[in-house]
Symmetry: C2
Subunit: 348 residues, 2 copies
């Protein structure tokens, strides 16, 4: 009930926000101080006892005898930053992707529109986009010697229902035969293009992913974190581990939250905004997750903190999918988030 | 002999170049039109016959029963672009990394200096940085069902000799015990940080990598390609496959070249610059590669094309490693390359 009341309150609040910033015109050049990247965290792992291999690395090159044993740098993560000449946000914005994806989530949308990385740059934020351990430019380690188990690969169709673009049985290998929700905001004609962003994931590496995110926070923060799906729980825990470093969390459909009993009082000074798209009624899976996450939001509020819920349909935005940063109204959703950051005093 | 003469000629030419552009001051903001990315190429692969799995993707989330069979989008590649408001280069600069690495090669150096991505942005180029198939944000496909064989992982020490930072026996797990070449330009104190950039690679995927690069060229070019190490052969072949699209190739220690008999005449209008660092005398492996690559450069010249050799020690720059874009004189090396591009008429 509390969550529902908060959701309605947020919807009203955001719908009438007076403090909308004036974004840079889309045609004006961005004034960029620096583009760069770093790798952070990780550890040295030693592998022993594997047989040697002879490998031709490039056509025409002589074979090299490789000893696959030795020391390996593993479990670090990659982050790219784009720093503005004169940021208007008080803190850099760190964008953390969800499961089976990389930082590309935040870049150009699958149908070729500027993504949230560009949106928030134009709004005056220094923007950092990272890849979690094992994903993207963070690289992965040998299995099962370093990462337990095997990587999981996402089929082209799995996300269709899971990301609430359409009903679970709406997927079809033939693009013309797919059934989306009639009001879906996902650019469905670009679905196959979206699936090019998929990367494999392990499901055994939460501890390592968390450790690298914690190291990242120590290096890049104070900051505001925008986090999606699987990343949500890592961001909540990163804030619990460094509440002085994380100045706000905007969680886009987080798929998990700290367990009951976690010390929500530590997040009293870390305002949270949790954003949900549409079509939860079609998804018991997401309804369960939402209940769990909103219990955590309630715990933060009960501890004296702030945890707002932005329920997009209640706020008048219908048809948004789990991948709302790619939806056709992605800028409008981002605008609601920007308004919340402005209201929270996170802009200069 | 021809290659040596060309090398000396280039050294003299670059040493006295009058056409050095005036780069934007390091303190002036870059004027950026757009930051974005895309995935290009790839195909749909079908996997059948694997048993289903039940997986908990996030702590607290209910388990999902996953059928690992189905259709997968595989073998595409990722590219990020940074477009200037007013580029001074005539064509975008595409930067292709080497083996076991990603596009991060071109970004901030391991010791935290701006890398070649920033250098060439400041010189007025639109810069595209990509990840080859399987690497980084391009993602990898299931082995052995899609990619034959197993990934190869690079030890922390393998590159020390292979990249000619020091002698092959100069590596030691203890940083204080490592022996670099006395004049090495690699920032050796940042070696461990550099190894965080390593990613696994397959050695069975050249055809797929080439296909995606070819698709990338069709989408992003006309262009100039700066390519490193393993990427070299892909760039040479990409130019053979689309000589109208590739306006120049700058190959940084390419590790391979097309075979004898490849039609070098197709590259008559594609000027090449091949750049070599120092300490080849210590590396029969690289000496062999160099002979092979310079044979290809000779074939281009004999066919009426232009293939210049920039031998850095002969040009007065000593101690450069295979990772010269990270060496302490990386800007100076890049400056020689920029001078060549200017001389070749590639700037406005």
């Amino acid at each position: 009930m509390r969550a529902v009341a908060a959701a309605i309150g947020m919807a009203l609040s955001l719908g009438t926000a007076q403090a909308q910033p004036a974004p840079a015109p889309a045609s004006a050049p961005l004034q960029i101080r620096e583009v760069g990247s770093m790798h952070v965290g990780g550890r040295v792992a030693t592998i022993e006892g594997l047989p040697s291999q002879e490998i031709v690395f490039s056509p025409g090159a002589p074979p090299l005898r490789i000893n696959p044993n030795g020391q390996f740098m593993v479990e670090g993560m990659y982050a790219q930053y784009i720093r503005l000449a004169e940021p208007r946000a008080r803190f850099p914005l760190l964008m953390w992707h969800g499961g089976g994806l990389t930082g590309a989530t935040w870049e150009t949308t699958p149908d070729g529109r500027p993504g949230w990385q560009m949106f928030f740059l134009r709004q005056g934020h220094d923007v950092w986009v990272s890849d979690a351990v094992e994903r993207g430019r963070s690289g992965f380690a040998r299995s099962p010697q370093v990462f337990a188990g095997e990587p999981v690969f996402r089929t082209m169709g799995e996300g269709w229902g899971l990301f609430r673009v359409g009903p679970n049985d709406g997927w079809n290998a033939e693009a013309g035969q797919r059934r989306a929700f009639p009001d879906s905001r996902f650019p469905v004609a670009a679905w196959d293009q979206f699936t090019r962003q998929s990367v494999p994931r392990w499901v055994t590496t939460d501890r390592q992913i968390q450790a690298a995110y914690d190291a990242y926070v120590q290096q890049a923060c104070p900051c505001v974190i925008v986090v999606h799906s699987q990343g949500g729980n890592f961001a909540f825990n990163a804030a619990l581990n460094a509440p002085d470093k994380v100045r706000a969390i905007i969680a886009i459909e987080p798929s998990g939250a700290p367990p009951a009993g976690a010390d929500a009082a530590r997040l009293r000074d870390v305002p949270h905004l949790i954003v949900w798209g549409d079509h939860f009624a079609d998804s018991p899976f997401w309804t369960n997750i939402r209940t769990n996450v909103e219990r955590w939001a309630g715990a933060i509020r009960e501890a004296g903190g702030r945890a707002d819920i932005l329920d997009l349909p209640a706020a008048g935005l219908r048809g948004n999918s789990h991948m709302m940063m790619m939806d056709t109204n992605s800028d409008e959703v981002a605008g609601r988030i920007q308004a919340w950051m402005t209201e929270r005093g996170l802009m200069r």
